[in-house]
């Protein structure tokens, strides 16, 4: 059984390495995700963010603007996930106090 596990692991690693060979190079201007327009021809969101992040939010850090403003719903969801994890730890790990 252990051999099957290792074989599966090796196959998976080989698959990932093969898949990573198809990724574009770092900073490749012609890669699809770095183009100004998507393959369908519509203007991409990333170029809008890069151009307008400072003007919109008066904040030099583009990542913060995207995380907390443009993608605010996502961060709210992340925080809710953390709160849920804490509440579940509270519910599972706290010992019930027996009434004597």
């Amino acid at each position: 059984m252990k051999i099957v596990n290792y074989l599966l692991l090796i196959v998976f690693v080989a698959l990932l390495i093969y898949a990573s060979s198809g990724l574009p190079n770092r900073g490749d201007v012609d890669a699809t995700m770095h183009r100004e327009k998507s393959p369908a021809g519509s203007p991409g969101a990333s170029s809008y963010y890069i151009r307008n992040a400072y003007k919109d939010a008066n904040t030099p850090n583009m990542v913060t603007v995207i995380l907390a403003d443009y993608r605010g719903y996502d961060t709210l969801g992340e925080e809710t996930v953390i709160l849920t994890a804490g509440l579940i730890c509270y519910l599972i790990l706290r010992k019930k106090r027996t009434r004597s």
Binding site: L67, A68, E79
Partner: protein, 146 residues
């Protein structure tokens, strides 16, 4: 179990180091507009400072610093700060989480967005800190010599 509780060197070093970690955490939270950082990272550093005191002095003495019962309520308050920031914008005529509509007078739209991001980061930092400490306390619940 190791008697780390009675080690004065570890206690002294932790007492000296812990406030500086907290200061750096506040720097990370409030400087998230200008440098890498933000609520999640700063909240984790705050939790690290609190957990350092819990590890060095023992959970019972560290209750003086941050009570065990405070964990879950403070986490909820953090989420409520985030949600309330978005909801205030919703109430004053905009969309949910559209900080331009925050009910504060005398700011331009870009400054209002900057302020909204700051409030949101504070909420995230508070929630992350409280929840991490609460999970640690929950894991230690029931051990006689923690």
């Amino acid at each position: 179990m190791l008697k780390y509780k009675n080690n004065p060197i570890i206690l002294l070093v932790s007492r000296v180091v812990s406030p500086f970690i907290m200061l750096f955490a506040l720097y990370v939270i409030f400087h998230g507009h200008y440098s890498p950082g933000g609520g999640f990272q700063g909240g984790t550093l705050l939790a690290a400072a609190l957990l350092l005191m819990r590890l060095a002095a023992g959970s019972e003495i560290a209750q003086l610093q941050f009570k065990r019962i405070l964990g879950t309520p403070l986490g909820s308050i953090g989420v409520l700060i985030y949600f309330g920031t978005g909801f205030a914008a919703l109430l004053s005529g905009g969309e949910f989480l559209n900080y331009r509509f925050l009910p504060l007078a005398g700011f331009t739209a870009a400054e209002l967005r900057s302020l909204g991001i700051l409030m949101v980061e504070i909420g995230v930092g508070l929630a992350v800190m409280a929840i991490l400490v609460a999970i640690y306390d929950d894991l230690l619940e029931g051990y006689p010599h923690d």
